[in-house]
Symmetry: C2
Subunit: 363 residues, 2 copies
């Protein structure tokens, strides 16, 4: 079949131009006689690819020079654990703001290492999350190692629409599902981390942006491989990095720059999410999204039909129509459309057209 519109929450759709380039270069990268996945990470060829990816990501996100950028194997959950090991003393207080599933996962990873203080939570009696606690209600600690937020909740579809001021403690943020989707003032954060598989490229690599002075913190006893300062000192080549994933991330970031950078993607992401929320809100209740409008996610839109029979039918018919992976996460149910950077506006339009047609036939 031809390429479908893939609304997967991650791993997620990639730019077709990036996949075509990776395909063309698969057996022979740049005339070397070998694939990029076969080249030594210590060779001049891959070192140049890696350095270009960092330079391009710095340009894309306007990352200040006093921030290190690390490219690390694995996903964001590993970083959730490592931030406590690297930046908090054993048992020190760390403040967490809980706005959905991934905020809770972040807390679970660090309980062995820090004294977790939930500064605020928007969890509702039914276990759902449909809002973000107003900043004025947060109970921040006086001496927290850091304050942690989840910039966008992939499962619950709740997104911070501005950067909270948390005072003296550095603000750490899980940006896994919204990194580089709009301009962000990095200097307001002590640390930003993200698995790459939503907005930055392929699965299997994470990006960590950290203010360099924080790398001097002693943290907790740990292996060298768990030490961000060691990774920073070796340009993320402390051990063999996931080179192919880094390469594909680099191609994706370059593509984003060529498309117009984060300003352009902010425009597209606003347009895409406006289309889908408009279709939901204009359906007279046939489709429902329950998140407070001011903090609705531009990236992940969970929505519901009146009953499970319709949900099942929607999933099978949308898949047949070339609209993939619209099933909601099991923690929430229903449907979910993820609209990351690589999803074109045409994809959101195709979804909205399908939604209207489905309602006509079933509403």
């Amino acid at each position: 079949m031809t390429r479908a519109y893939n609304f997967s929450a991650g791993p997620a759709t990639l730019p077709e131009a990036v996949l075509r380039q990776a395909q063309a270069e698969m057996l022979d990268w740049n005339g070397t006689g070998a694939s990029i996945v076969e080249l030594s990470h210590r060779g001049a060829e891959f070192m140049a690819v890696a350095a270009q990816a960092e330079a391009d990501l710095r340009a894309l996100m306007s990352i200040p020079d006093d921030y290190a950028v690390l490219f690390l194997a694995g996903g964001a959950t590993t970083q959730q654990a490592l931030i406590a090991l690297n930046f908090a003393s054993p048992g020190q207080v760390a403040d967490y703001v809980v706005t959905g599933h991934w905020s809770k996962t972040a807390i679970r990873q660090v309980r062995p290492y820090v004294d977790v203080h939930v500064a605020a939570s928007s969890e509702e009696p039914d276990g759902g999350f449909r809002s973000i606690p107003p900043r004025a209600q947060w109970q921040l600690s006086d001496d927290a190692a850091y304050v942690h937020i989840t910039a966008n909740e992939t499962i619950h579809g709740v997104e911070f629409r501005d950067t909270p001021d948390v005072g003296a403690a550095p603000l750490f943020a899980d940006f896994s599902s919204s990194i580089a989707s709009e301009p962000v003032d990095v200097s307001k954060y002590g640390l930003i981390y993200a698995g790459a598989q939503k907005n930055l490229g392929p699965v299997g690599i994470s990006v960590l942006v950290v203010r360099r002075d924080l790398l001097e913190r002693a943290g907790q006893p740990r292996a060298d491989i768990f030490t961000y300062a060691s990774h920073a000192a070796r340009d993320s080549m402390l051990n063999t990095p996931p080179t192919w994933n880094w390469y594909l991330l680099g191609l994706t970031v370059r593509w984003m720059l060529e498309q117009g950078g984060v300003e352009e993607f902010a425009r597209r992401n606003a347009a895409k999410s406006a289309l889908v929320y408009g279709a939901i809100d204009g359906s007279g209740g046939f489709y429902r999204n329950e998140v407070a409008p001011a903090v609705r996610s531009r990236m992940n839109i969970p929505f519901f039909l009146p009953d499970d029979t319709l949900t099942t039918r929607f999933l099978s018919e949308s898949k047949a129509a070339g609209l993939l992976a619209l099933k909601g996460h099991k923690a929430v149910g229903g449907l979910r459309a993820s609209l990351y950077n690589a999803m074109p506006v045409e994809g959101a339009q195709a979804l909205v057209d399908f939604m209207a047609d489905f309602q006509r036939r079933n509403g």
Copy 2:
């Protein structure tokens, strides 16, 4: 250019058939309308790919049912740290046998967690490693959490040619650069781990084979993401795994089975290494390998020329002849040929032919 013979120590050469399949499927995997790197790890399509890779690896390595097989993001260095966290109590003794650079790296990762006892070391006064201490000389602890060996030393070119009997403590082995290169009796080991980027496929994923009863050990306080038992309980999908890397590993393992399995690769690897060692030993001292013949690695062959001028010339001329990545690791210098499963016998023959010609012109 056409495909070269790539002697990189890792990331390393892959079977051309595997790269061609990955290339063909890059934009549309199996008629799904999406690349495998864009598919959800929770979807039926990728779940089947993952399960097939495990089944094929179990068949390839004859892994008993009472062993779990984990597919984990990142490289072997991370596993070196995690084995102590998972299988040793805080400060418990762990025995290490030191036979090269990677044995020492393994120790460095666990010093914060265990009482490291070096049961034996073949380090020489000049810092080199050219042998393996005879088993009779090992000083094993009475109550070690485990005994750790490095089955093959990628940098120093020293390889265990049999499995040592270490008594009651489970034997843990870093098989990063020799996994699935010949038949191994897995039941003699408590745990085997390996980065995949040498013999099993692409960089960015590691394989861990562990006797299931060991997963019941309490280990040390740690995050859930660092807990092997949690990964095992979720079929290595505790968090988003490196799906593309897992897929490419699966293609490579399937290719190995189709080629005849580990018996066939044992034959090829013996033939390849015999060719290169034969060329070295038959050169009248022009080429030198310093490792004790009984423990010479079949996978990584460090060798030396009489002087640095010749070494530089050898590297530039061999590269021009389509023989890539023959530079030795900086810790050892000289040259190194890595002859993993995906290197055909023809590649070793081409190297040997070049070595003879180079000697004729420069000897």
